[in-house]
């Protein structure tokens, strides 16, 4: 059981010690990672994915339950503690959706009966239907992203989940974050999107490749986050209406 992970700070791009020396993330917590492009958000996520032991560019060290993870824990996909949803939007593997999910289930030591469940979940996150016999490479950005989310949620069911930007994907981002956070997981999400950023418990602010500070989401921000959720729902509904070829007559913003 993973109770917490600790990020021990290393060095930023200029070789200075990171301002934040230590961050502890407990299970059931959602952490955001924010900062301008090139500020090192993806590298931070990368360090956690590999459970870095001062062996990456940043020289950070990641502890699990306060201890160094074993080599096997770090590399064996069947024991893999970290599931990651990376920035890339499309699949490159030349195979069908069903075949791909079956192979991945085998890698993770999961029964392949889950394949249909993954496809079903993916379809609940995107408007364009995904079928088992589709080729991976022809899926749209939204379909690919939805399938990756469902795959991470069901097949790579790891206690630590890392998400590198879901906002631009054309999928239901709230549902996606909910599906991914599951029960008792540690979740980190890289995002520029206030809807997601304010949904988190805390956010790590990146600057010049280093962790600059950790901000706790205020109660006030949590209320704003709920308002933003409603705006987001509204946008999604409008989007569906337009997609279906309907006319948009009015919008109601009273309850926001």
């Amino acid at each position: 059981m993973i109770e917490n992970i600790t990020i021990l700070g290393g060095y930023d791009k200029k070789g200075n010690k990171e301002a934040v020396e230590e961050v502890v993330i407990h299970r059931e917590e959602i952490f955001g990672v924010v900062g301008p492009t090139g500020s090192g958000k993806s590298s931070l996520i990368g360090d956690i994915e590999q459970l870095a032991q001062e062996d990456t560019f940043s020289k950070r060290k990641i502890l699990v339950n306060g201890k160094e993870p074993s080599y096997d824990d770090r590399t064996n996909p069947r024991k893999k503690m970290v599931a990651q949803l990376s920035q890339n939007m499309n699949f490159l593997a030349d195979m069908g959706v069903g075949e791909f999910l079956t192979l991945h289930a085998k890698c993770r030591g999961v029964k392949d009966t889950c394949v249909d469940k993954v496809i079903e979940l993916a379809n609940s996150l995107t408007g364009e239907p995904i079928k088992k016999e589709h080729e991976l490479t022809i899926l749209s950005g939204g379909q690919s992203r939805a399938l990756m989310v469902a795959d991470v949620a069901i097949i790579s069911d790891s206690p630590i989940v890392l998400i590198d930007e879901i906002e631009n994907a054309g999928i239901r981002k709230h549902d996606a974050l909910q599906v991914l956070s599951g029960h008792g997981k540690i979740v980190m999400v890289v995002t520029h999107d206030p809807v997601l950023a304010l949904m988190t418990d805390k956010r790590i602010v990146m600057k010049n490749g280093g962790m600059d500070k950790v901000v706790t989401t205020s109660l006030h921000e949590k209320t704003i986050s709920q308002k933003l959720n409603k705006i987001d729902e509204l946008m999604l509904n409008l989007r569906e209406k337009v997609r279906r070829g309907e006319l948009v007559n009015d919008i109601s913003v009273d309850d926001i």
Binding site: S43, T56, P77, F91, M95, F100, L103, C107, I155
Partner: protein, 232 residues
């Protein structure tokens, strides 16, 4: 002298990964010399020169680059010795998928590009199956699920390989590769190949250009599997 032989398809990221690994050796005051073997053209010498390691290139032209590399091992080793290096690194194009350039006591490193498709490990042959280390590059461009499938396929071909997931851009995994270089053994006076060179030399190998069957000698194999030997 330790010898590291790095093979992998063109553009797989051999140089990018090596540059990070060699920088890491440098910080430990370990000296390396690099030889790049390619067929027709390379500008890798400039890339290695930038980080200040002695570099030499060898172009095999119309010869199999692995055969060419193997034939020149002794000379390369003595050149590295003259440079007072601890390591000889040989980067080879590894185009002929029937050969593998690794010798018994060298560290055999196969660099393989994760974006090249999950069946690539099954296609590349002995330079993967006889390697000590398989370095997977460009994992940053595919999903974690695709990475995991790719890794499994490599282990199907070479269950004993140590897999390093590296990134030639960020340098991820390259310190680990350098660590493996440090831990490898010294080469001996009489190195032997791990994998014997291809089946036979055929008429085409010695320059025959006529296509019709009647002009060919040696071990001949039909597409339906029928094999015969023509000649003395």
């Amino acid at each position: 002298m330790k010898m590291i032989i790095v093979a992998g398809t063109p553009g797989s990221g051999k140089t990018a990964v090596l540059i990070h690994a060699l920088k890491s050796l440098k910080t430990k005051n370990l000296k390396s010399s690099v030889v790049k073997i390619d067929c027709l053209y390379t500008d890798d010498d400039q890339k290695f020169a930038k980080i200040g390691v002695p570099v030499k290139i060898g172009l095999s032209m119309d010869m199999c680059p692995d055969h060419y590399a193997i034939y020149n091992v002794e000379d390369m080793l003595s050149w590295a010795q003259e440079n007072d290096s601890d390591y000889l690194i040989v980067e080879t194009a590894g185009l002929c998928h029937r050969c593998a350039p690794y010798t018994k006591n060298s560290l055999g490193v196969c660099v393989i590009d994760a974006t090249s498709g999950p069946n690539t490990p099954l296609k590349v042959g002995p330079f993967l199956s006889t390697a000590d280390i398989a370095v997977i590059t460009k994992g940053d461009m595919i999903s974690q699920a695709e990475r995991e499938i790719f890794r499994e396929k490599i282990l199907e071909v070479n269950p004993k390989a140590k897999i390093i997931e590296a990134n030639g851009l960020s340098g991820q995994g390259c310190v680990e590769l350098a660590e493996e270089m440090i831990n490898t053994k010294e080469v001996s006076e009489e190195e032997k190949l791990r994998h014997s060179a291809p089946l036979a030399v055929c008429t085409l190998c010695v320059g025959e250009t006529k296509v019709n069957k009647k002009h060919h000698r040696g071990i001949l194999r039909r597409i339906d599997g029928f094999e015969s030997y023509e000649g003395e």
